[in-house]
């Protein structure tokens, strides 16, 4: 409705016709693109003696701004038992007001979102966590049964899905694992060199980097990278499937979504993370070699032999075990949060975030347990 908005402004007048009747006159332009008055200005003028409200209009144009103003006035009058006579309003306005009141307000819907204290929210979170624990255990149990079905050959696992997941979580993660591992190897070498130089034992940089990367850091860094890259992707993918009711469709057909969706992801990560851990260790050692030979004047063969002397089979076994466990933890957390996802876009985001947090928490807990266990076993 192209009109010259500066031609006419809104105008409002009140006229007390007699002791009980107030006439409200609207004229000019009552549109959203103007600085319309607040309805409170008028309602504050309506004292207790008024029991009838009438309207007079000479409007050049109007839109929702006018309707909202009127609607507020009529609501205010109704609450105070003041009768409103809408005869003086344009027909279109009356029609739209009728339409707006055709469906009564849902009183049950008019609830407020109450702000809770930090303590209340922390307590609620703790209760939710403990209520969630049986669900986590139940999910773990379902995975164990699914593995049982796989071993006994009764599973519905699609091998093409498994290969696809293996490619997705393994080779496609090589670049990021390479970059992070190289930089971590470099940091370890510098850190060691700084301390070992004081006692003239720089050659032991090779031992530090080799054992550190193969046994602990490679697996840990790979676990964290995979948690951020793959765990969140699992949660987002399964969460979106939850939103689209794809998982419900599996259940209604009697197909286990655990066998079909969760098992390939867990297997893929359990197979690929140990390999990525080995690769990470190799790249970290390469970084140590480059730094040691180029900056700390250690010979290449000298470094190589020291690395071979330092490394034992048990270090590889520890690294591979940790890699496998971290992979399983990330897959479990990602799939769990995806399967628990709500049915909105926001819930998918929450599931992805929660998957990463849960993965890192589980990796840290399992790293501590495994370190103590290997120490006690003398490995």
């Amino acid at each position: 409705m192209p009109t010259d908005k500066n031609k006419q402004r809104w105008h409002l007048e009140t006229n007390q016709i007699d002791a009980n009747i107030l006439e409200v006159s609207f004229s000019g332009r009552w549109c959203l693109d103007q600085d319309l008055p607040s309805p409170d200005l008028l309602t504050s003028e309506m004292d207790g003696s008024i029991n009838r409200l009438t309207f007079r209009t000479e409007l050049s144009s109007w839109d929702s701004g006018f309707l909202a103003y009127l609607s507020c006035l009529i609501k205010f009058s109704a609450e105070r038992g003041i009768h409103t006579d809408q005869g003086g309003l344009p027909e279109g306005v009356r029609d739209l007001l009728t339409l707006a009141t055709a469906v009564p307000e849902q009183k049950i819907a008019g609830r407020q979102h109450v702000k809770r204290s930090m303590l209340f929210r922390a307590g609620s979170a703790a209760i939710r966590f403990f209520h969630g624990a049986p669900e986590m255990l139940s999910f773990l149990g379902q995975i164990v049964f699914s593995f049982g079905r796989l071993i006994s050959g009764r599973t519905r696992l699609r091998w093409s899905d498994l290969w696809w997941e293996i490619e997705e979580v393994g080779p496609r993660a090589l670049l990021i694992v390479s970059v992070i591992s190289f930089l971590v190897g470099l940091i370890l070498a510098y850190l060691g060199a700084d301390q070992l130089r004081m006692v003239g034992a720089q050659i032991f940089i090779a031992d530090l980097v080799a054992i550190g990367m193969v046994r602990e850091v490679g697996a840990l860094m790979t676990g964290i990278i995979i948690a951020g890259r793959t765990g969140s992707a699992f949660a987002a993918k399964l969460g979106t499937m939850q939103v689209n009711e794809e998982i419900d469709a599996f259940r209604t057909l009697g197909i286990s979504p655990i066998d079909f969706l969760v098992l390939p992801r867990i297997l893929a990560l359990m197979l690929m993370v140990p390999l990525l851990t080995l690769y990470s260790g190799f790249v970290g050692m390469l970084a140590g070699l480059l730094i040691s030979t180029s900056i700390f004047d250690i010979g290449m063969f000298e470094y190589y032999h020291e690395t071979l002397n330092a490394l034992e089979l048990k270090h590889f076994m520890v690294g591979l075990t940790k890699g496998s466990v971290y992979g399983a933890m990330v897959a479990y957390a990602g799939c769990l949060r995806g399967m628990q996802c709500g049915r909105s876009a926001e819930a998918v985001g929450e599931a992805a975030t929660s998957a990463v947090v849960t993965s890192i928490l589980l990796i840290t807990i399992s790293a501590s347990i495994l370190t103590i266990l290997f120490y006690q076993l003398g490995i």
Partner: protein
């Protein structure tokens, strides 16, 4: 151009790579029309809508809004033109992190100088118009599909746009709510002079409230008929008659 013409689609062609969805579309929508874009599944109705609302540049041709070339104006004017369009997406497309009231209030607080009190009143009124009075504090995730759709219409109407483009308004709604929505569309046209463009294949809406239309054909990838759908049912192209009578004619 006739001053009554609100939208003119001229030589419009839309394609994805080599796949031409629709070509050589030419039609006009007059002020106050309830114009229906109809056609079978996959004929390109939604792609046409995306070109009408500025989400997808057409491969060829353009769209004029009241004589202004929508696709060939400077970016500022393009944005200003977009603000005069109200869009209701098929699923409502409500912002999930905002309540219904916040969803409807956002365009008002962005583009008007109204007081927060009046914005609240406008929001309540718009929600009441679509039958959602009292649901102001709800988040989209707490609503049914039909309610989200109606809330989407309330948001599309927030700024009282000159042109309201509505994608599949009645699909997924119960017959009474669908009828109520159709009545609201007619009332918006009658009271506020809003031009309405409906993208739909719901026959009840097409024949009940549409006064002008274009029929997109998925085989020839172009429009095969324009005009009042109520007349097309008797005298139009046989393919359109076939569509409008559910294959009985």
């Amino acid at each position: 151009m006739d001053t009554a013409t609100h939208i003119e689609v001229r030589n419009l062609t839309m394609a994805y790579g080599d796949h031409v969805v629709q070509h050589d579309l030419n039609f006009t929508v007059d002020k106050g029309d309830i114009f229906v874009i109809m056609g079978g599944n996959g004929c390109g109705k939604s792609t046409l809508m995306r070109s009408l609302i500025g989400l997808q540049r057409p491969t060829e041709g353009t769209v004029f809004y009241q004589g202004v070339d929508f696709w060939n104006v400077d970016p500022d004017q393009h944005e200003r033109l977009k603000r005069r369009l109200g869009i209701m997406f098929q699923g409502g497309a409500m912002w999930s992190s905002l309540t219904l009231a916040e969803n409807v209030a956002l365009p008002l607080s962005e583009y008007t100088d109204l007081s927060p009190r009046l914005i609240d009143e406008i929001v309540s009124f718009k929600l009441a118009l679509v039958g959602l009075a009292g649901f102001e504090g709800f988040y989209p995730a707490e609503l049914s599909g039909g309610m989200k759709k109606r809330a989407g219409l309330a948001r599309a109407m927030a700024l009282d746009p000159d042109i309201l483009i509505i994608d599949e308004p009645s699909s997924g709604l119960d017959p009474l709510t669908a009828r109520r929505l159709d009545n609201l569309i007619v009332e918006l046209r009658e009271s506020l002079g809003t031009t309405i463009v409906l993208i739909t294949h719901e026959l009840a809406s097409i024949l009940g409230i549409g006064n002008n239309s274009v029929f997109l054909d998925s085989e020839t990838h172009t429009m095969i008929a324009t005009g009042n759908p109520k007349e097309a049912i008797h005298s139009g192209d046989p393919r359109v008659r076939h569509f409008l009578t559910r294959g009985e004619a």
